[in-house]
Each structure stands twice: as C-alpha cells, then as structure tokens.
Assembly symmetry: C2
C-alpha cells in the first residue's frame, strides 16, 4: 500500500495539502447564493475586466469559425501570431525581438507552468513577493519546488527589490518571480531594479521571471518591458487583461532563445497547442482600431481608480501609494478588523459588497489587508463605497 493512502483507499498527492483554493471563490459562491435570493451585490472581488472582448478580435475569431478549420497549431503558436507579438514589442516598446523567442501559451498560466517546468527540480526554491498572486506559489509546489514568499510592504511598494533578492537568494534558489504591475497592489518595479535583479540572478546562475500581464494597464510611471533586461529573463504576458480576452485562455512568453527548444518539447507534451480560435482572434489584437478600444478602456480604469482610491482612504482604509497599474487596490483595513477574512464575509453578508481577503495573497499581514478590484462601472463603485460607509458607521461595528 502506498504510504500516502488516506482512509478512503485512494492515493492523494501531498501537494494538495499545500495548494489552497482561492478564498475569493468562496466569496463569489456566497454572493451568487445571495443574488439568487434577490439581494443586490456590488462586485469588487473579481480580477477580470467587465468589458466584452473588443469587436475586431471577436470578428477575427468569427471569420476563423466560419471556415471551421480549427486544427492544432504548432506547440509554440501560429507563426503569424508569434510575428505579430514580436511586432508589438517593436511598435509599442521600440524593441527588436526575434519571433522565435515568442511562445504562445494557454493563458499566462500555461506560460508559468512551462517556464517553471523547464527550470526547477524538486526542492529548488523560487523567490516571490508575499503578498502576490496565489497561483504562483502553487505552480512551484505542483512541480515539487519550494516557493519562498518574501514579506513585502509599503516601504517597497509591496514589491521585491534587488536587495531583498540578494538577501534571500540561497543555495537552492533557481529563480525569482516578480510582477509589474503587481496583483494585489497594482504597483510597478522600475527598469533599473528589474535589470539589477536579473543581473543578480544571473550571477547566481538563476533566472528572473517577470509577469507583465497587467502591462497595458499602467496609468503613470515607467512601463518599460523587461524583455531586454538580461539573457536570463523570461517575460510572461497575456491577452486576458488589457485585451479583455480572459475566457479565451491565451497568453505568451518571451523566453531566452536557448530555452525555446526545451519549452517547445514541454509544450508539445503538456498542451499540444494553445487554443486555435483564440490565436486566430488575437491576430486582430494589435490592429490600430483594437488598440484604440483597449486604450480607451484603460482610461476608464484610470477614472475608476481616481474615484475609488480617495473614497476608500476617506473611509479609513490605508493605501500608501496611488496604485499606478492593474485594476486593484490593496488596502490596509486594520482600523476596522484584525481578521480581514471575517471582515469580508461580514461585509458581503450585511452590506452586499464582495471584496477579497488578504489571505488569498499570502501570509504577511494578510489579516490586515483586503483587495478591491475596480472591474465594475463607477456608478457601482459609488454604490459599493456608500454601503461600506454605512456598514462601517453602524454602532455594532464601532468606527
């Protein structure tokens, strides 16, 4: 009998103990129950734009579906899409990039799985910010690596720094993973810091993985891509957020040339290919009319942010920096609670406002934080803030 066999008689992988469901799913499920009972819920928990996919992208997809020839594509992606992505780095970032370095993936999740599978052996460590996107540590655990969460706070804008990477890089560390703009804080890392992190990783024989999936959604500051920050840098991006293609499951990675062959054989085995309908549709993503739509929506996100952050601060949430990117606000709620998870459940139940508890993003001061997403129109954000104000002012909750 395998030693891991639980009472029910089937094996169970140890990794399941370390891989947690997103708590926000519990919030979302409860919100749906309340809505089914006729309650109105203001959704500020959802990490997904509320905009439909831009029409030109859908039209390109429809043209492919009219043809009906949705066969497997090469594992690294359709050549014309890889070229279009490389072209986007040229036109938007002024960077010349060989299309051979572009790997089209099944969402940025697919990219993350491929790069980690190519880099880590059992027990190898990957450094990452705590708080951070929760699936990152779970991907590392899935592959029997050890995610090392490094506590970060307002003093580093909730980001890793070159100094933190230097301090925490150990003999089993093979990579550091950063996100700019980040989830949950929406903050950036400057290009000099990225380059310094890449250089340190390189000196230690390791890689730097840079998650740029919110890269199109930057409202101010340095939004330079990391693709030219070093020959040990893997950049991950996605059509989900800026291009409003979440459900299509399409992302990409810019890999160092010498790693592409290994990533190709992993992709052949694990994914066969990224979804063909999404690849055909995404060929229209870089057209001027599509980019105009996406940029207009970015301005709408900016307007929401410019409304929401001051409003939350006025209520008593502590938000050290105006978040320059993504569509999230990571707020210190310790004025109201020492248990932000209970706080979010209470808020949903009694005020009809859904937000995400800090524990979804790690352990460091997680119980003092919540995440607001501004993925709903301003009118709904106003309604959410109004409910929050009433809820927090109620005597039993003692402001």
């Amino acid at each position: 009998m395998p030693s891991a066999a639980p009472p029910h008689g089937l094996p169970l992988a140890q990794r399941l103990r370390a891989i947690e469901p997103f708590r926000v799913m519990e919030i979302l499920a409860r919100a749906k129950v309340l809505e089914a009972q006729g309650r109105d819920i203001v959704h500020m928990e959802i990490g997904e734009p509320d905009f439909a996919t831009p029409r030109p992208i859908c039209e390109a997809g429809i043209a492919a579906l009219e043809q009906g020839e949705l066969f497997y594509t090469p594992a690294l992606g359709m050549p014309q899409l890889r070229e279009a992505i490389a072209g986007f780095y040229r036109t938007r970032h002024g960077i010349d990039l060989a299309p051979s370095r572009v790997v089209v993936t099944t969402g940025s999740s697919g990219a993350l799985l491929l790069v980690l599978a190519a880099l880590i052996n059992p027990g190898d460590q990957v450094l990452m910010a705590d708080p951070g996107y929760p699936a990152n540590r779970h991907f590392v655990r899935l592959l029997e690596g050890e995610p090392v969460g490094i506590a970060v706070g307002p003093d580093s804008r909730y980001q890793l720094t070159p100094a933190l990477i230097e301090r925490h890089w150990g003999s089993r560390t093979v990579a550091a993973l950063v996100a700019t703009p980040s989830n949950p804080a929406g903050t950036l890392i400057g290009h000099e810091d990225i380059a310094a992190m890449a250089a340190h990783a390189r000196q230690r024989g390791g890689a730097l993985i840079v998650d740029e999936i919110y890269h199109g959604l930057v409202y101010e500051g340095d939004a330079r891509t990391a693709v030219d920050a070093g020959d040990n840098v893997f950049v991950i991006n996605s059509f989900s957020k800026y291009f409003n293609m979440t459900g299509w499951r399409l992302g990409w990675m810019i890999a160092p040339e010498r790693h592409v062959r290994d990533i190709d054989k992993l992709a052949q085995n694990v994914f066969l290919s990224a979804p063909a309908p999404a690849q055909y549709a995404a060929l229209a993503a870089f057209a001027p009319d599509t980019l105009a739509i996406c940029d207009a929506r970015r301005e709408e996100f900016r307007a929401r942010r410019d409304y929401l952050v001051p409003a939350l601060r006025e209520l008593g949430f502590v938000i050290p920096q105006m978040p320059p990117g993504a569509f999230y606000v990571y707020a210190d709620c310790s004025r109201f609670t020492a248990d932000s998870h209970a706080f979010t459940l209470d808020l949903l139940e009694h005020a009809g406002v859904a937000i995400t508890p800090g524990i979804d993003f790690g352990t460091h001061r997680a119980r003092n934080h919540v995440r607001f997403a501004y993925t709903r129109p301003i009118a709904r954000l106003r309604e959410g803030v109004r409910r929050l104000r009433d809820h927090l002012a109620a005597p039993a909750r003692g402001l």
Copy 2:
C-alpha cells in the same frame, strides 16, 4: 550555484532529459520543407482528423463570439456543459451520471495533468502500456512520478491486462493508465477486463485512469465506457477526435465524486478555466444533427480503415488484428527494416510518404514498428500505398 546548472549559467530541470519531443514533429517539419520545395507528400503521420469542426458546433461558437462575453467560466466548467456531458452518458451509454462528477478541461491533456497532480507524489509509479501515447509518461515525469512502461504486444492486442497489472503493481504504484481505443494500436479493452483492473487497483489502494478519447470512433466490439467500472476510476475524454475539435482544446474527465473538490482547486490554480469559446461551441456537440455528422464521419474512417489495413498487409506489413477503433494502424515493419525511425525518414525523403516511427510510443520493439494514421481521404491513402509499393520494390531496398 544549483547543482543542475549547465554551462550556460541557467538552471535546467532534470525532467527535460526524460521528456522527449515527438519524433513525428521532425517528420512533419521535414515534410513541410519538402512541400515548400514543390514535392507532394502523402500525410499518414498526423493524429488529427482531417474534417473541419461540424457546422453546428462552429455556429454555437459564432453566436457566443457575436455576444463577445467570453469571460472565465468556473474552473470545473460551465454548469450547462457539465450537464450536457452527463446527459450524453445517459443517452448514448444508458448511464446515470451526476453532473458534479464531470470536470471540463483544457483538452484531455488538461484532464491528465489534473488527475496525475491529484494522485502522485515524487517517486510514485504509474503503470502504462509500451507502446502508448508518449505524453502519458512525460506527464508522470513532469510531476516527479515514475512512469512504468509495460511491454505489450499482439498477444494482448497491445493492451495491458488484469494479469499484467497484478504482476507489475509494486509498493510505489498508485495508478494504472490504459487507453481504449488505444493510440497507436487502435485496440479495445473489454469491460470485464477494465472492471478487473479497477478492482485490483482498488485492492492495492490505487486508481485506474481510463483514456477514452477515441471512444466515439469504434467500428466494432465492446465500446462500453468505464465510468461505472469502480469508485477509483477516472475517465478522460475529449472533444478533439470524434467531435473534430482538436484546435479548440477541450476535453473532460469523469472523476470519483470525493476527488472533485481537490481537482477543482488544482484547476483553479493551473488553468483558471477551460477555453470559453470552446465551451459555448461544445454545447452544440450533443445535438442530434451534430451527432449525425460525427457518426457519418466515423463511417468514413471505417471505410478508410477497411481499405488501408488489407493493402498494408498485402505489402508485407504485419497487423495482427484489424484495429477496431481510433484512426491508427500499428504495423510491424520488421520485414523491411530493423530501424523503423530510419525507415520513416527514408520513406519521406524518397517516396514522399509521411508516417510515424515506433519510438514515439515507447521502447518495446519500437524499431520494428511504424504507425499509419488514416486521417486523409481514401484517394490519398491509395496514393500513399502505391508509393509505398514502389519504394519497397526498388532493388536497393531489397524486398
């Protein structure tokens, strides 16, 4: 420095040494080069139906794209699709299945990753047939498990048997993985054998994973599904083959009820959701007009098989059993060569016929076998056979 660091200064996972690219990709790439030079190539290497996706499926997809609201779906799949899949087991197999056991996945590859991630710890063994679908052993290796290929041949129709599973099940074995119909041999496992394998696995505290992705493409014999073969059975299926949706990347799994929660949290982290365009489109897959198209195409596959197998036998290939399913013929070519890989390269170069070498499917007598796919119209198969005949008759190749 990590001990695995290669000379170029970046870490490299050991698993990359065990995970091989599909040799058929090399054949396909060379075929494309020859075609670009003006050569006509008969493709009998491709494991993908040549039929476009049935029109009603495309139309359902187009309707969703017209709406444009392609958001993330629940990680386990859209509820209405899970219900439709459960309904298909009722109407086609007469089996009552709770929709809660249906997990919609990113291709059957996604299902395989999820079930193996839920079951295996490092060093755990998974039994599988050699020859078999090559990605199976690579998935196990990806998750740090140990794939155990069991040599099978004509005497068991290239399939595992209850006796083989009993003989090879060891203290670290947690699961056996079988496919019916199989790739590369297209053979079936009878329901009694499936039930006996499940019972043995259960007695040893393990699981049986049954790949039924070619299940709609069965031309004779017992095509009963394994979903009711035991409470430790995971059945994997796909919209790719019978429903001609390869590029859409959509599959499903029927899991034991008590494992669904673990699979859900893995799917949340690893995939977020299966592609939404494919899920909307697949809602039309079980409609009577779609099934009529798919069944007509199955009859076309049968006609191709009925032409190809006798023709290959006449040329001198040994095919012990008329393959009852899938669209493959696994043929012993030892009359012509002791190195089937070189044979396939030579055949492509000099006869313009592309087929797959046995080494893509394992090591057991791999150099004596090749796989033919009948995924092209009969006229092309005839042309391929004609070229084969001429090639094999040429004096230098000495028949």
